[in-house]
Amino acid sequence: MALTLLEGNEAIGWGALDAGCRFFAGYPITPATTVYNTMLRLLPPSGGICLQGEDEIASIGFCLGASMAGLKTMTATSGPGISLYSEQISFAVGSEIPIVIVDVQRLGPSTGSATKGADGDIQFLRWGNSGGQPVIVLAPVDVKDCYILTRHAFNLAEIYRCPVFIAANKEISMTRETLDLDGLNKPEIRNRKTADPDRPFLPFATPEGRLTPDFLPIGGDRLVRQTSSTHGPDGYITTDPALIGQTQERLMKKLESAVDGFTFFDEETVPDADTLVITYGVSGRAARDAVRSLSGTDRPASLLVLKTLWPVPEKRIQEAAAGYERIVVVEMNLGQYVREIQRLLPGKDISFVGRMDGELVKPGEILEVIHG
């Protein structure tokens, strides 16, 4: 085994490059800047493109254009930039443009604290688009996840033609950590499915039995239309309620019905435990320490660390929680994802541990709540 020392943001950059990312555009913002720095180092010498937009809106706009021209694209920002991305995110959702969006979360609200961590955007990432259609959000726990989940994020963006978020946190992204890069279980590279050359091409038509349209790039030898307006399969504006309804239901279903196929998580199950700790992101580390410190005691606890947050992996959560009376949810905010857990597990005794002051949740705080 050999170890590599990387910052979380550098690992995201390498993961992107290895996933086939060939276009990055961003606007510097702490704590996401080092993703941009990394891409600027990696992409131009390898034939890729890395641009610095005049603002966040331009940066993600460059990416959407390049993605429709066929390149795998990524952008990275933090809370204030995600807010500016919002309208473009809605566009990528509704018009099925593959893109990976890294949100290195920092303490909000608003400009908040540039150098303090948080997981305060977790509901915002899900609901921060107009229309409220689903998105995919993956949350890394450590530098290893930064690499691996970024590779998964590109695959998912390609397969489902949608924005995929990496919900990082200053406390992972700007933390340096060793990892065994060669020992990682790397997913195979997936590419968007291109349309059959022998059949007429409609940019938003889905082949029989599938929920994601085939892709052709803008600039290819068959004409492609992309539009942010409500459209039918032909990419022209439509006012037909039946056609509109079908498309909107498909957008929802294509992700929500597929989440079992990309539910990433870590689990530590302890027999006889009556408590299950559910968490995600950097808090997964403190939770693991807390749960492990209880092994062999008379009050052990089990652990579920979710890495796919949206769509909510409902089945996994319900199955994992089935044998437990008590659930402890840990988040680096004042209670966001716990709402999903409460919705999914009615009747269970659900406690919450969280903080929003720029400090990590400590293992001791989690233990206190486990002990009741």
Partner: protein, 430 residues
Amino acid sequence: MDSLLNSSRPPVFCPGCAHERVVRALDQALTGMGLSGEQVVIVTDIGCSGLFDTFFNTHAFHGLHGRALTYATGIKMARPDLTVIVTMGDGGLGIGGAHVLSTSRRNIDLTLLVLNNFNYGMTGGQCSSTTPQDARVGSGFLNRIERPVDICEVAGAAGAAMMVRASTYQKDLVDQMQSAIRFKGFSVMDIRGVCPGRYTKHNKLTPNAIETELSGFPPLDHYAARNARTEYGTAYRREAAKLEPVPPPARIHAEHQAPQSGRREMVILGSAGQRILTAGEILCLAGATAGLHATQKNDYPITVMRGHSVSEMILDEHEIGYTGIENPSVVAALAPEGVARRKKMFAGLSADTLVLAAAGVELPDTPARVETIDFKALKLKSPDRALAALARLAENRRMLTPEMLDSALALRFKGRVLEGARYVVETGRS
């Protein structure tokens, strides 16, 4: 081919709308240049001018209001061979002003057609960024108290070399468009016309009046020479071709034996400019040379050259969970700024903790063992103290060994910097 117009989707503008003439002129311009639909992308945004892409059999990209230039830039960088035409109204121009400025500064090979009809047609004739102050529009008195923008002058000031103020009705509109499209760089056409649906209901504006007004503007010719330069994408590719590929991240093999086992934590408390983060990184690299996992969590303000700098490192044979400091093995107190930042920590330290304090840095009361280093006497400058503190630890075989430290330096530095670092280590040991 005689036309790129989409025969199944004829223009749907109000009768007499200037946009319809521009659609036909653009068609003639493109076909006259021998371009096929596959070679052209029309990028549009919102408003009546945002319908343009639907009338053509070309590639089409219709997006958010004011943002058309952003998509066009991405497309052009990805596919430099395509002819990319952007249309915007005076509404998109106002919303996306920052993009017009930056595209002018970049000089990327796009052609921007501003369909300027002096008001927002689609939403009810409100004033736009180009509405004259004496016009009657749907924004009450508001247009009377702000000035219209002359986008060609603005683009020229921002670095664009090819600007044309044009009337929808001028005879050589197609020729002018072709020169704009042929231009290797960013070109802007401010194409003025009437909006019978809204604007000319309350304002008198005729093709003649537009031409008369145009003749009163200062000329733009001087920008051609002043702003002439290599097109952005060409310049980008030329610069990128000079870069060496980046080697993959270093793999560090375990070659040393760590002096202790279990989780070991170190905190370095310093100030900006003391290379605290670099020292922390070196400790992590040193750990890796003994096969240890390592984390480094930093705390510093956004100011670069002033304030505290705190670095917290953990080494462990096992993967590290919580990255915060619970029970440090070592605290290096190198500057008052850092100590102030972790004041509360000192009282809670254990008697096993070693505090390496720079002489003169005052410490809060602590049960930990304190060792003072007189860096001045050692002639070690402030930026070298963190590394010297590591040397002292290595000498005591605490957290790391001299061999681990030296391998870490060799991983991190080269040449004279490495020699300098080794000198600091040698001096700091004693």
